[in-house]
Amino acid sequence: MDDIMTIFWKELKELWHARGGLRTRLLTYLPLLLVFGVVLPLQEREAWVDGPLAGIFAIVLPFILAGGAVADSFAGERERHTLETLLATRLSDRDIFLGKVLACVTYSVALVWASMLLSLVTLNVVKGSGPFFLYRNAILLMIVVGALLSSMLTAAIGVFVSLRAPTVRAAAQWFSVITLVLFVGGPLLLQALPPSAKEALLQILNTVNLNLVGIVLALVALALDIVLLALGIARFQRTRLILEE
């Protein structure tokens, strides 16, 4: 575990310094915190804590945050010519891999949770008096568990993309294409369904227990995370990585 934490420490430091000076870093993170922590909650008010919007953002945002982090961590290590030196240390392949993934997931989850926490503070400060605004249980679960599973899934997919990409930019581009296919392809497919199929789907959604659907989706995501991470560990072998240098 110490070795994983050593890599974790280094990766977070690198991610934090990736944007250069403090001003650039603020310019990167402030818009995110402002949009999801201030602007959108103020627009939505009660709907932000009662409706699904905050939960959906908590699940979607990691695809951008963890995706960028994982490209920088895996493809960047190779692009910046630090990978071979790291592989020449006593650390095991698995510990290097897990340390990197843990850092990317933590980075993504921390930013999502910080935004969502800030949105609660914003709403309650603006409200002034009366009972506190708090997320509904299902939304809270989407934010806490959903953001975590989504970050893990993004990191796991991102590892495969980044290990094949020659540069951080290439990894980010490939990952954007995958994200686009996932998030635009799904709705387009739904639109393309014949009206009868759409109606049938709506009927199913109306009758089914949405909480149960959420739990099933979370379990599927968890299983996918585990499988992809296990495949990632198997793929991350120094004797193979050196040949790709």
């Binding site: 110490d2 070795d3 050593t6 420490w9 280094k10 430091k13 690198e14 310094h17 990736a18 910046r80 010519h81 630090t82 071979e84 030196t85 790291l86 592989l87 020449a88 240390t89 006593r90 650390l91 095991s92 120094r238 004797t239 050196i242 040949l243």
Partner: protein, 315 residues
Amino acid sequence: MTYAIETKEMTRYFGDLCAVNKVSLQVPSGAIFGFLGPNGAGKTTTLRLLLGLLDLHGGSATVLGYDVATQSHLVREHTGVLLEHDGLYQRLTVLDNLEFFGRIYRLEKKARQMRIQELLEHLGMWEWRNADVSKLSKGMKQKVAIARALLHRPSLIFLDEPSAGLDPVAAVALREDIQNLAQREGTTVFLTTHNLAEAEKICDMVGVIRQGQLIAVGTPAELRAHTGKPTVAIYGQGFSASAVEALRSLPQVCSVLFHPDHLQVELEPGAETAPLISLLVRQGVEVEEVRKGRGSLEEAFVMLMREEEQKSSEV
């Protein structure tokens, strides 16, 4: 004698290409070993094989007594490296970089901090400890990378072209640092280099590799004696064409190179210098200074390469 590195017919292929071809090598503990060869000769592949970063396709190798095929993690635990690229994290400071590698090698916090200070002070880099690595010159980065390689007091360090890309002053400074640190810490150094003058000055032993095959091993003096011929530089005035021709006609003279202020004469092994000087004086040359020397390692290296080229063209 104990050996830090021992290989027996170590072999590695990349497809059909045999990058390292049955290399058998012994590097004594505590020595500075120079591994020489032209580009693509197999130097870096050898180094990667010794670190267990590539699998062996034939033969065997032990580093510090550990089998690189089955105990490569132990090899990496007890060795330090400075590879082709310095491998430093540009966004982090010098201290952060060394802290990270100190943690990797499980140095206790206090011991880690003391060791970092000791090495950086010795290398004249302590004032730069809080600077981002991206702000350092190439020479400074190499120094930090040397400190990183020695941080956990390894018994053996691998240096891949450590002075590549450095200006002459920085290269000399780095060479002195490597020599001093290796001596002070009793570390064995395995160094790959193109810089033959550097190898001649710093190395106790050298090995020459060409097209994956080890073609010579020995001390620099042994290699020079084996392949380089003795030379003499004669400084003076009044070198005429007839004087040069007269010198060339002597049986003990292999070649004469005419420079504006001196003649560079290559002699047969065991040849005496005095008859040459007498001849030049008789030819009206005013001899001011005579410098005797053996062929340099560079000359020996070039000769070795030519011999091998000839052998392969004959085959």
